[in-house]
Assembly symmetry: C2
């Protein structure tokens, strides 16, 4: 049986060295999008392999057509659950460099406000600091107990900031090796500086482009106006019909597979309220959308239909009295629960087709299809992780969702059949992707401790 208190104490003792190791990693300029830094990316991968080997992982640099992956394995106690931990070692470019107050690749610790220390440098938060919380948790666990509580596979990617072109082929080619009972990802944030959060859902997406066609050419509205079908009218009329007065989507069967959020989760979200200045920051004051739902529920647990682009007729300066031959729109649906992205596409197309008047046709093209991700609210791993985080932060962990999609999480689900537990310690003011990126020392330290507790809880809860 592992000694949790001793493991946490070991992590505390290690902290200065943990920080030194993180600093070593930040010093490597692993900017994935710029070919000038290819060697640095490879260097970062190699550094990670060495670090993982140092704590007992069987680790290797694995080639792709782009920057290499790092894959590492270490068996846990007999019969322990198997987790796949994902992170990325590549970072965003640093321009504009003159806005940095310190060299982005010379990390240091500074006091942001009295008592609040932060680690500075590119990648401090995204994602080097975050992935190192898990690595250092493994180190303390191993040093204290001799064995990890879980069988751990680690996958570190070097192309997350440049579109992950190698990821799907790599998952496909190494599915058997990478498949685990659960994926864990450390690339998200806390709810606020004191409140840990677990992201359990990500919305899926169906993207469609529709073009309505009528006459065989653009027409003069004086000669034909009043008699010739105007594709802009047809398009606006159809799109104007997609929402009812309550903000619900009117496409038949659209809500098939949408489940009501459990009351306890809804209550939690009601208490949380929307993020500070969520609407005010974008110049709005009143939420639009589906009636009778909170902002958080709408963002995390309700599907949407949004027109992302529309065009037709004359759109330049001045005026042209034209009835265009066609008009088109790009429409996307954010999906939740068990909504079938293919069914949504079919139903949308039927919705349009049914509304076409005589002589008019619609052409469709497909842009993006991904199902929603949902770790069941009653999953035992979730309860375990929640308890572990509450023990560490002395405040209940909140269960949240993500309004957009994270491709890797979808790929884990669709290609490897795994759910993901998304726990991260980033804060809203981390300035990821911007100059003067930082990671709170507290996030790093308590992040390490959190992973120790989570691993321990998952092993015990098995």
């Amino acid at each position: 049986m592992a000694d949790l208190a001793a493991t946490l104490s070991q992590a505390d003792k290690n902290l200065d060295n943990s920080l030194e190791r993180l600093s070593d990693l930040i010093r490597i300029k692993s900017i994935s999008t710029d070919p000038a830094f290819s060697d640095d990316c490879r260097k970062a991968a190699g550094w990670l392999v060495g670090t993982l080997e140092d704590i007992g992982f069987e680790a290797g640099v694995r080639e792709t057509t782009g920057h290499p992956m790092v894959v590492a394995h270490q068996a846990g106690r007999e019969g322990a659950p198997h987790v796949l931990f994902y992170g990325h070692y590549d970072v965003q470019p640093v321009d504009p460099l003159d806005l940095w107050t310190k060299d982005p690749f010379s990390p240091g610790v500074e006091e942001l406000t009295p008592g609040r220390k932060v680690i500075t440098g590119r990648g401090a938060a995204d994602d080097k600091g975050q992935l190192m919380t898990f690595v250092e948790a493994c180190r303390a666990y191993k040093e204290t107990n001799g064995t990890l509580p879980l069988t751990v596979t680690i996958l570190f990617e070097g192309e997350e900031e440049s579109g992950s072109p190698s990821l799907k082929p790599f998952l496909e080619a190494n599915a058997d090796e990478l498949k685990a009972d659960l994926a864990m990802v450390c690339d998200t944030g806390m709810w606020d500086a004191d409140t840990p959060a677990i992201s359990v859902s990500l919305r899926g997406l169906t993207g469609e482009e529709v073009t309505i066609k009528a006459a065989n050419r653009d027409l003069h509205s004086g000669h034909y106006g009043g008699n010739a079908a105007n594709p802009i009218h047809i398009l606006t009329s159809i799109l104007g019909d997609i929402h009812d007065a309550d903000g619900r989507v009117t496409i038949p069967n659209f809500y098939d597979g949408v489940h009501e959020t459990p009351d306890n989760i809804k209550s939690m979200w009601e208490e949380l309220g929307p993020p500070k200045d969520f609407l005010e920051d974008i110049g709005l004051s009143v939420p639009s959308g589906e009636k009778g739902r909170t902002i958080l529920e709408r963002c995390w647990a309700r599907p949407t239909a949004e027109v992302n682009g529309i065009s037709g007729g004359y759109t330049g300066d001045g005026f042209k009295t034209v009835i265009p031959a066609e008009a088109s729109a790009k429409v996307s649906f954010r999906l939740v629960g068990d909504q079938d992205p293919h069914a949504i596409r079919r139903n949308f197309r039927a919705f349009v087709e049914e509304r076409l008047p005589a002589d008019c046709s619609a052409e469709f093209s497909q842009h993006g299809t991904s199902g929603a991700i949902q770790l069941p609210y009653d999953a035992p791993e979730l309860a375990d992780a929640q308890k572990a985080l509450e023990d560490e932060w002395e405040k209940p962990a909140v269960i949240i969702g993500i309004g957009g999609s994270i491709p890797i999480v979808g790929d884990f689900r669709s290609m490897l059949g795994m759910n993901s537990l998304l726990v991260g310690f980033g804060l809203d003011d981390d300035r990821v992707h911007s100059p003067n990126e930082k990671y709170d020392l507290r996030s790093f330290h308590k992040g390490i401790r959190s992973w120790i507790r989570i691993m321990d809880a998952l092993a015990a809860g098995q």
Copy 2:
């Protein structure tokens, strides 16, 4: 009292010389849009002054900042009505020259089909041939009777094919001189080769651009979708609301000033039916628009609301899941009867404003404002002209409308307070603005005779 039969006979005798004079005018390369032909434009104006003086007009070349106008006056019999005749001496460019089977400026007469002779050359129909029908009518009338039946002012413009930039300033500066009881314009066509037509109405126009604004910047639809107002939705919903299920415009008071077309005119239009292949030519088979109206009524006597352009969000290749900060549309209203184009603009703006949800705003900009033109269906001049045309063509003249606008006719109405009688002898196959333009010799000959009869009838009907 004038001798109508003798006047018509004189026109017949003159025909060869009339044709020679028209050919002289066609030979002058008066392409107004190309500065290389400025001298030719001036030459055409001078030629017209000489020709008009030759038949007793007091005529002059009148300077503008562009090509000159020709203005001529001749008093008719004591107390005769006063008409202003308008035409234009400038022509379209001739490119692509290699598609012409003959030199565009070397006019000739050729037999198109057995018995059907046409005058070829640029401007043969538009508008040199047409304006010369009136000039030659005056000549025959003067030669036979010594006096014109009407007091005639002539205005020939040299910039009609290049946007008429000098016309409004010239009308304004010479309003007293140009104002008459009625304007007559010869720049339109027959219904078909055997059926003369009088155009009595032109639709007006109110052009508006509306931009709907919501958030202060473009938003990610994952993060904000479901909560942030989407200006494309608001715009499409408002525009989708502008027509009801019967194709009527729903803007309050939109139909104020729209008068029902008299039954006899409606019956005439029903008998005419739509122009041959009106919809088929543009790839359509079913007319859209207001229910319970014929195609011709919709085009000539009913107002419309058309969206001529729409844009918002991402419209490039591929897909971007953006909720845009704004979306905009260009909307035009074709107006009839006594609809007030300014009231239409105000009512449209109110219609939009009323439908704006919280946090959203609309910005408007104005594009074009012109009232409809309508010569009353019971105007005595109309009955006179109809009778005159029927006598000449041995077929009743049809009363038609024009779906678009002709700026000069609107300017005569708004600046000089005159109605216009639009009678022309062009045919659908005249290839105006295209290579191998022609004017039927029959149009020219019977056109001259038609104006003799119309002038005579207007003088008698006074």
